[in-house]
Symmetry: C3
Subunit: 396 residues, 3 copies
């Protein structure tokens, strides 16, 4: 598709509610709004590929507030901000005086005086991340209404305990492009399955985000995991409702083989059991660190019972034409490469390496598109203007 | 006041000495110079509020050299730099080769090759911070004269052992706006008082900066602290002289109640005793870390004798109309919130939360105004030009 | 020389191969190519000195990937990027998920989605740094060819185990300017000599880079070190060939006095023995950390036998007219200043302090010139355009 096609697509959509609103969860947004973000992401990529500047900010700050380490998301956010003309300032709580008893309310205001966007990653504790982001948003809202802040910075969820919208939307844009259009995902079987990893406690936001979004595309979404590896019940409810609305389906199984059988798309990935993560959060709140250590050991032992949950060549052969699209949010635990036994066979991973990297490459554009829609009142018009003004990004 | 009023105010002031000069201490500067900075800070804020770019740099670096952690000041400096078009580069001595015996002189030159501004925070040791900043300035001066540096970067004191000009000027701009003009501060009673905190060794730069600047406004400034919590004698001398010159007064008391009585403005805040801090610096110099530990324990014990030095509702009720303006540089030690017993009652703090955040919100503009005056020969003309050119900061 | 002279010089040179190529080692490049970088470095400096913007990027990222700490190189890279309009994003492997088994290939792609330049410093292990940089370059190349990356970011070697091109080219530009032209270096005696330092394991990239580049200038290059402090044999081979081609010479000695005798230029600096460093890399690979500790102790003991290898006033007096140009990459181990006994007498160092700082001041321009040549197809034309457009860097 060409630049003008993305603008054309955009014109048919209702997305005004994205303007000056935070992005927390994909299911807070309408189908049109998500489609608009996909279209804008592609339009921004087209601008860049054509060496045209997409700067809409003359100056301004994007704050990255990460409560967990991350290369990919950090770089994606920085790239998105830079593309639009914002400078990134990292807020590292470790470095700050937060430890001295500074409250979230105060922090939210203090780092927002000249902030246009705040990207928050907080996926460490179940029941905490989303709550933190919402609280943060309320505080900057208050700050804006009280005249403390000149502008109300917009929040972008860069991963919470419930959803990982920038990841899943990148995954989805990848699927759209691989399938030749969002309409072609209808009826496709997508297997979101647990896979074994020797490391403990991977976030649930990816499988949750996946079932929350893929079910809106009219796909046959299967969630597969060993018993005891349930995700949040409320997200399953959302997936069910979405599937009904979209004419797709949402089913669950404890059998990885069943999930892979004839699947068009597979997303095998480790995660921690929700119930255990809830327990962990409670222990954390009570300062019971011995109990946390014990729990981690138990979970590793539990994980180890399911080493057969791994994406092998044999399993891949059972997918549609033996050729399902393999997805991963990266980094993957690759058997014999990054660990002795992991989520995926090295040969499978290698075969999909280029598509996997492409999948990841959408993230900066998804984030930039979110910010663009949050900040620009008439995005189609502004994109056209950026195209026509033809300011060279690198003036060779 | 509108943008043009700030320019009008500026035209009546003598401030040419700010140009290409460092900013170390407020008492190095004339009344006119400080007023000019207030006017420019407000003009820059007006540009921003009106979505007009204040970029005067096409490229360039602002170096933040922090020898102590800080969220607020770090973000304020980054915001100020970004507003004017400078990119911030943090110089973290821990990360650098300073430990390998690199001298300050060498560092000063090595980080300044393309630096326009260097913001230094060095408040850890009495007798060291200001000295360090002055030495740093001398070295970049030399480097410039010797042809090592193409431009002479300007130093902004982001807190030293003697003064905290960006903080106190933000406090003062807040007072000016709350009182409806700088002329209305004349005759007002301002109580800068010590308050109990369970943490040890808070810097003296805030009370010292406060008595050094508030006494220039014609105010009745009272410095209150328990016996043994004296601030630097030379700053008290400055406060005395300033009070005489401005027609205000500077008095001291060991009675918090007396200080609060009928006060228009109160600034209750913990700090460490100067004499103890001097001792600590000496121990540090001699490598006597055991002695430092012992001293810290003694000081905490000493602090604990003065838990009654706290800003209660009862005490606030004794201020002018029971309604004094409560100031704090944040973060505050709030009783029952950030600590069991602290500087201020939670209900008092909560009542003043919005004004306190506004007080803090001036800092990026104060810093930007300092840089602006140091770099721009005809600030009034340039501000008018920025207003008229109307380059949108965010082109919505 | 004036701006137009640098452009004039540029016009006589063949340098098209620099365009869109990485910079790993000076001996990968032709004499013309190196001369072109010197000319562009000076032209960029002239733009800056004349307050003219050298921004060629409207937006874009420069990634600094440092596997060892560094103030100077970090700031030089940041300054170079800022000069050209790129924002720096640090990739700190410690902070990232590299430790979780992420491969270099994946990292190379993940941090390059919007990267224009990647500056890599990796000098810790003999046999590793250059190899890492080449692998990294191969991976981004693949990523570009596979359509993962929209542009192919360019690699700049900010120091590896073999060469330190940005350092040695800065040193050389300093020599050129001190000698009044590159042609005046012909026949000059340059002593690259080992010197004692109490610290262990300094990289070999400086002496190796020095003999690799200085021998191309028609100079009489002498490499001096105690027995056992050999550098990489393959770099010595390159130095020999270069000397023959340039009409200069390359000789070795184990006598510092002989090296200094009548030298026009001296570069006394500590480094670790190549053979020991190879052993160390092997131990590291085998996880034999006890052996590494033992080796370090042995090396320190070995170093201590050569405390007489130090740049004294007496030794300086034996150089040409007692007045050789003293070079150092900084920071130096200065006797009685940064250590009890070190590489150089304090009085010698002090006498050369200003030239040493100037030597260092070329590095941001060398790096910027490398990037400029890698990114701009017609550099002479573009430089002229930047000069004529006369966009003020700081609009005073």
């Amino acid at each position: 598709m060409a630049f003008k096609d993305y603008l054309q697509a955009l014109k048919k959509l209702e997305y005004q509610n994205l303007f000056e609103n935070d992005f927390f969860l994909t299911w807070d947004k309408s189908d049109d709004e998500l489609k608009a973000i996909f279209a804008v992401a592609e339009a921004l990529r087209a601008l860049r590929t054509n060496n045209k500047s997409a700067k809409i900010f003359d100056s301004g700050l994007g704050i990255s507030l990460f409560r967990d380490n991350s290369t990919r998301t950090r770089f994606s956010f920085a790239s998105a901000c830079n593309l639009l003309g914002l400078e990134v300032q990292d807020f590292d709580e470790g470095k700050s005086q937060q430890a001295h008893g500074e409250t979230v309310k105060e922090t939210a205001n203090m780092i927002s005086f000249m902030a246009d966007v705040i990207g928050i990653r907080d996926d460490m504790y179940i029941g905490k991340g989303h709550t933190y982001q919402k609280a943060f948003a309320d505080y900057v809202n208050e700050g804006y209404q009280d005249g403390v802040l000149e502008q109300r910075p917009i929040i972008v969820n860069l991963q919470c305990d419930i959803d990982h919208p920038t990841q899943i939307m990148s995954d989805t844009l990848h699927i759209i492009n691989e399938m030749g259009g969002i309409e072609n995902i209808k009826g496709k079987k997508i297997a979101m399955t647990w896979a074994y990893s020797p490391s403990y406690g991977k976030p649930l936001s990816v499988p949750q985000g996946a079932i929350g979004l893929f079910t809106r595309l009219g796909a046959e979404v299967v969630l597969a995991h060993p018993e005891g590896y349930e995700v949040m019940a409320e997200v399953e409810e959302i997936a069910k409702k979405n599937a009904i609305a979209s004419g797709g389906s949402f089913t669950k199984t404890n059998d990885m083989t069943e999930a892979f059988k004839d699947a068009d798309i597979v997303y095998p990935k480790s995660w921690a059991p929700f119930a255990a993560m809830e327990k962990r959060t409670a222990f954390y709140g009570e300062g019971k660190f011995d109990e946390i250590d014990k729990l981690e050991k138990e979970l590793l032992k539990q994980n180890a019972k399911h080493k057969d949950w791994t994406c092998t060549e044999a399993l891949m052969a059972t997918t549609k034409d033996g050729n399902a699209l393999y997805l991963h949010c990266l980094p993957a635990d690759i058997t014999g490469v990054s660990c002795a036994e992991g989520e995926v066979d090295a040969s499978v991973f290698d075969r999909y390496r280029v598509p996997l990297y492409k999948e990841a490459s959408y993230k900066p554009y998804i984030i930039a598109a979110m910010i663009f829609m949050q900040k620009i009142k008439n995005p189609a018009e502004k994109l056209q203007e950026l195209w026509d003004q033809d300011q060279k990004r690198l003036d060779k």
